[in-house]
Amino acid sequence: MSQALRAPHVVDFSYRRSTGGAVGLFLAGLAKGELWASRCPGGRVEVPPLDWDPETGAAVQDFVRLGDEGTVRAWTWVSRPEPGQPLDRPFALALIQIDGADTALLHVVDAGDEAEMAAGMKVRADWRVERTGSILDIRAFVPDPGRRGGLPQPPPATAPDADPPPEVVSNARMSYSYEPGLALSRFLRALAERRIEGGRCPSCSAVYVPPHPRCPACRVGPLEPVEVADRGSVVSYTVVHLAFPGLTLDLPFVSAWIRLDGTDVAFAHLLGEIGPDDVVVGQRVEAVWVVDQDLAPTWESIRYFRPAAVDGPGRDSEGV
């Protein structure tokens, strides 16, 4: 398995999410330093609030303000906080039942030490001064042992203005170690040696570039490695007029399906040294490779394909 390649790969799944309804109202309340709950028609009080009663499906129209004190119902200790967590010192992750609510809110407790934590302990919200309409507007809940418990006085209840509702930004940028697999690793390594290596199905003899783990038609594999020429014909093409990240050619340029001589399946690559108006289907083309020191296990070792000057072996066509 030591022949398999791997490469860093970053994917950004970040979104700006609109809110509305109960979540929007809750976030708008947080921006004001207030905790709001939904009261279902049956009387059940939910924090965080919901738009519909989970028991009956009935729409919830009754929102009530609660105080910012509650009771820890379940907890765990995070002894080594990681980047992206709310506190940079050990804390408890906890389900906190706000006084007057029937459900619990997930948040953190800044208790200093695990020994301070217990189910049933009283806590209160520690609000940030700068609030934006985020669950993080509560910096943390903190132990509040002096409190005698019981329902707090109902605070003034004017529902927060949630128009426009706050947006939630989710930054989900993740790093991967991409593995192209055994068959493709072999193909990519050949490109780093200025070679194109296809795979021939031992059953139907079809030659694939790039090779597959198995013949997609016969399910037979592995394919037999076969060296193929770096020249072939344009099967189809399109003209690209719009810029996008990673462009290597000037606009407009031609992206073409190319089938190399002696192979059965076309692949997509770029055409260079020819204008969009001059390309025809069936055009004979040859690879233009990067200079030797830039060769690497990537398709980009071929800069593009260009019209074949002489219809013979094209292996000596150096990059410009």
Binding site: M1, Q3, A4, L5, R6, H9, V11, F13, R17, V23, L27, E46, V47, P48, P54, R73, A74, W75, T76, W77, V78, S79, E82, G84, Q85, P86, L93, L95, I96, Q97, T103, A104, L106, H107, E114, A119, S134, I135, L136, V168, S170, A172, M174, S175, Y176, S177, Y178, E179, P180, G181, L182, A183, L184, S185, P213, R214, C215, P216, R219, G221
Partner: protein
């Protein structure tokens, strides 16, 4: 009425990152499942697959797995971003509806993300929970703590589960440090790569299969609300309801395979199933020693089926879960013809 049986199953679980792609992982497993069933690729009328593109970071990665599937001439194919057991459920429904005589169900997983915690956080409510960055082990630990506080179980009960599944001494487990109290590293499943393939078939075709068909006598799944603070984490209401739906409650099994990525969850699940007799629980080792996320549940059902096909058991059940703190649960009960 149409009956559907599991007639073939194979899986491979291994350390992450041996360089194989999804198709390279899956192809030999598909071959083995077909061979085990005695059916050929031409018998397969529809294909169900399951994986997570968030785990391998490749958008559209199912396309790369096509090479491992009997895809030519084209079959009806449905892909889920979920555990393969839920793809089994869909395929079972479609066979019951008469869409095909046999189906191939596959799941595969390569955990290539450097930070698995951040990937699994994407399952959570993005408005009020994701910003807290809780991580899957911490959420499971909240549940474990609540279970201890309920008075029904102690940490030593968790360690007994770990000892049985990982073949360790429970005392050694108890001496290791907490990862997220009250859970230790050994209480949390070991995430790895893996692939599983299952062949299911109807009536006469199943009866023609190579082994003894594991007839599906009940399969179903239920999901609980997303809000962790809005449900009793110490009891699995969805599992309890499904156990009634599929006829597991009050019946006796020879083998039960439970998908519990955390040790305490096995205790919660087994309680909720309310079976009259459990038989042998997790003879495969369960999810703790090897957890190819998205294939793990299908492997539980497949292991329970294989015990019938090979003649070792008469009545078995497999369970699969998905989502934080056992949010979504599936049970498949199977039996041999007497």
């Amino acid at each position: 009425m149409t009956r559907v049986a599991v007639v073939g199953f194979a899986c491979e679980v291994g350390a992450a990152g041996d360089g194989r792609t999804d198709a390279e992982l899956l192809a030999p497993v598909v071959d083995q499942a077909l061979e085990f069933s005695g059916l050929g690729p031409d018998d397969i009328g529809l294909i169900g697959t399951a994986s997570s593109e968030f785990l391998n970071g490749v958008v559209g990665s199912i396309m790369g797995a096509f090479d491992a599937l009997p895809g030519w001439p084209p079959r009806a194919h449905s892909h889920l971003d979920a555990d393969g057991a839920f793809s089994l459920y869909e395929s079972w429904v479609r066979l019951m509806a008469g869409e095909a005589q046999a189906a191939l169900v596959c799941a595969y997983s390569r955990p290539l993300a450097e930070d698995k915690r951040s990937v699994l956080n994407l399952q959570l409510d993005p408005y009020l929970v994701q910003p807290l960055g809780p991580g899957p082990a911490s959420l499971a630990a909240l549940q474990a703590r609540a279970l201890i506080d309920s008075g029904r179980y102690r940490e030593s009960d968790f360690s007994a589960v770990v000892g049985a599944r990982r073949r360790l001494s429970a005392e050694d487990v108890l001496r290791s440090p907490h990862l997220a109290s009250p859970l230790r590293a050994a209480d949390c499943s070991t995430v790895c790569s893996g692939a599983a393939a299952m062949v299911i078939a109807v009536d006469e075709l199943a009866a023609r299969s190579a082994g003894r068909p594991a007839w599906i006598t009940g399969i179903g799944h239920r999901m609980e609300r997303q809000s962790l603070g809005g449900r009793d984490l110490t009891r699995s209401q969805s599992t309890r309801a499904v156990a009634v739906d599929v006829g597991l409650s009050g019946t006796a099994l020879d083998v039960l395979e439970v998908h519990a990525p955390y040790s305490h969850q096995e205790l919660i699940l087994v309680d909720a199933m309310d079976a009259a007799g459990l038989g042998v629980v997790n003879p495969s080792g369960g999810a703790l020693p090897a957890d190819p996320v998205m294939a793990t549940g299908l492997i539980r059902v497949g292991s329970a089926a294989a015990a019938i096909i090979s003649g070792q058991a008469v009545r078995t059940a497999g369970h699969a879960t998905n989502g934080p703190c056992l949010q979504h649960n599936l049970i498949c009960v199977m039996a041999a013809d007497r």
